[in-house]
Symmetry: C2
DNA sequence: CTTGGTGCAAACATTTTGCAGCACA
DNA sequence: TGTGCTGCAAAATGTTTGCACCAAG
């Protein structure tokens, strides 16, 4: 089965980022990202609602990975009441336009992260503490593409997870 | 939360493979693997039951990845009736003694694979067909350890997933 | 105004668990 | 012969869906 499902609708094609890349100030990317989302929605005849705006804004404020539940809590904490159903529906939407990506490393819960900016697709998972860091590993891309080329395949993306403990030796 | 849970009991420590490595003939590893399991169980005061033996035997006959449901079906097809609960319980047991490992790349279902022999921890996932290949990528280990050393961490393992489509360019 | 969106609660699918009887060591 | 194991069915969990009402465009 293809990875793309996104409720009934067609996958929204990834929208190229226009500007505001590589900045450290997360506030700086709020406007463009929101614009990207609006455009992606409009292209599909979907609506930009306050709930969707609030969800994206709240996601942007997260540092790295987050879970659906955390997102829901953060929304509540900000005084917004958005239902669980809407959070899940919006996450799918954000995934299908490549603003957010799902990260699987835990059977019990889906994790997500912003797919934009300096977020990486390598995770360092501390198996003792449960802590997770994300990072970018450009060296991996060369290795990946070399493997794919050798097989007549084209890489669309990759995820690396490294399970670690503190080195007390 | 630590990755290790394995129902009530302590994690069984990984047992070094004694022989029968790198062979192509899956039949050849049935005996040793089963012996490994027996030993691991005995060390924990657990019992080697016919259900557990049948589950391990059936897993060994799988080529690569499998799901709990497939395992259940395969058992039924062989005329063994093992309950779903026992399958899940035994999978956890096999995981905790490193005979089997869980592979997450699909939110809906856990996949598993034998952790022994030539099975790799890199997955090539064909996003169009759903097909999945596993392979070994020794180059990754160097990269991984280098990253960990630089941070005072010790790598315990890793998983790489590469998402691909056929290259029609 | 029309089409899609929201919240709620019920539905779902996979995995886990409580319990009574069974069987390995 | 006792502790652990099994099967069953019920529970638990994260996610999805049906529906009636609401709101964006």
């Amino acid at each position: 089965m293809p990875l793309e499902s996104s409720m009934g609708l067609e996958p929204i094609k990834p929208v190229p980022t226009d500007g505001a890349h590589g900045h450290d100030d997360s506030l700086a990317i709020i406007e463009p990202l929101c614009a990207v989302f609006r455009r992606a929605l409009k292209e599909e005849g979907l609506k930009y609602t306050p709930e969707r705006a609030r969800i994206l804004d709240t996601i942007i404020e997260f540092d790295g990975l987050f879970e659906a539940d955390q997102l829901l809590d953060a929304l509540k904490a900000k005084g917004y009441s958005v239902s669980k159903a809407t959070v899940y529906r919006t996450l799918k939407l954000l995934e299908s336009c490549s603003i957010v990506q799902q990260v699987l490393f835990d059977r019990d819960q889906s994790h997500y992260q912003l797919a934009f900016g300096k977020q990486g697709n390598t995770l360092i998972i501390h198996v003792d503490t449960g802590e997770v860091e994300t990072l970018e590993l450009p060296e991996l891309i060369a290795l990946r593409d070399q493997i794919c080329n050798a097989r007549g395949l084209k890489a669309q993306g990759h995820k690396l997870q490294i399970f670690v403990i503190a080195d007390d030796s």
